[in-house]
Amino acid sequence: MDDKEIDKIITAAYLEKAAAYMPSEEFFASTAIRTMKARRKRQLARIWSAVASAGIAATLGIVLLTTHKEAQVSAMPAESFYSESVALAEERIEHVNSAQAELRASFDKQLPF
C-alpha cells in the first residue's frame, strides 16, 4: 500500500468514524441561538449600566448644584448682615453727631459764655 492509497483509506474511515458521533444539526443551531441570547443579554446589561451611570451622574450633579446654591444662599445673609451693620453703625454715628450738635446748641443758648 502506497501513501496515496493509505491516505484514501484513512480519510474514508475517519469520515465514517466522525459521522458516527456527530451531534445533530440542532445542536449546532442552538449555539447560534444561545449566542444571540447572550449577546442581547450583554447589550441589555450595557444599556442598564449606561442608564444607571447616567442616573448616578445626574443625581450627583443635582446634589452638587443644590449644595453649591445652598452655599451661595447661606453666604448672602452674612454679606447683608455686614452691610446692614455698617449702615446701622453709620446711622448711629450720624445720630450721635446730630445729638451732640443739638446738645451743644442748647448749651450755647442756655449758657452764652
Binding site: M1, D3, I6, D7, I9, I10, T11, A12, A13, Y14, L15, E16, K17, A18, A20, Y21, M22, P23, E25, F27, F28, A29, T31, A32, I33, R34, T35, M36, A38, R39
Partner: protein, 177 residues
C-alpha cells in the same frame, strides 16, 4: 475558498440568528470532530464546540485575515479550548470513550473489514497523532496550517504523519494478512 471565508464572515457579522445558524452548521462539525478527538468525550466536545463557536462569533471583529486564514484561526481556538478542557480533567485517563465503543462495534461486526481496521488503528494512535489525523484527513489542512493551529513544527508534523501512515499500514497488514 476565499469566497467561502468571506461568506462565513459576513454570516457571522450579520448578527442574525439565521446567519449565525448557518455559520454554526458550517464550522461546528469541524470543531466538534477535533474536540472529540482531543477530549475523547462527547459531552466535553459539545461544550468545547459551544464555547469555540461563541468565541468565534463574539470575536469575529478581532480576526485578522493578514495573520491567518479563518479556518486556521477557528481551528486554533478549537485546539486551545479542547487541550485546556483536557488539562482541566485530571483524574480521567487520556484514552477516550469512543475508543472502547468503536472497538466493540468493530469486534462485533466484520473483523476483516479494512475500514473498521483503520478505525481501530486510529484509536490506537496517540492523542497528538489522532489530532493530526483529524486536522489532515478530516479537516483538509496542510501541514503548514496544522503547524499554525497546534504550534508544532512542520517537520515534526511530517515525521508524525509518516509514522501514522506506517502504523495504520502495519496494523491492517497484520490483521488483514
Amino acid at each position: 475558498m476565499e469566497n467561502e471565508t468571506a461568506h462565513i464572515i459576513s454570516l457571522i457579522k450579520s448578527r442574525s440568528v439565521s446567519g449565525l445558524r448557518q455559520a454554526a452548521l458550517t464550522l461546528g462539525p469541524r470543531i466538534f470532530a477535533l474536540a472529540m478527538e482531543i477530549t475523547g468525550s462527547k459531552e466535553e466536545a459539545q461544550e468545547v464546540t459551544s464555547d469555540v463557536l461563541m468565541k468565534v462569533f463574539n470575536g469575529i471583529d478581532s480576526f485578522d485575515p493578514e495573520k491567518a486564514s479563518l479556518s486556521t484561526w477557528v481551528m486554533r481556538i478549537a485546539h486551545n479550548e479542547a487541550v485546556s478542557a483536557l488539562r482541566q480533567r485530571k483524574n480521567l485517563p487520556e484514552t477516550c470513550e469512543i475508543k472502547g465503543n468503536l472497538k466493540d462495534v468493530s469486534a462485533e461486526e466484520n473483523e476483516g473489514n479494512r475500514q473498521e481496521l483503520v478505525k481501530e488503528a486510529i484509536e490506537r494512535c496517540s492523542l497528538q497523532e489522532r489530532e493530526l489525523i483529524n486536522l489532515y484527513y478530516y479537516d483538509n489542512n496542510s501541514l503548514k496550517e496544522i503547524a499554525d493551529i497546534t504550534g508544532v513544527a512542520v517537520g515534526t508534523l511530517a515525521v508524525r504523519l509518516q509514522r501514522v501512515r506506517q502504523k495504520i499500514r502495519q496494523y491492517i497488514e497484520q490483521r488483514h494478512g
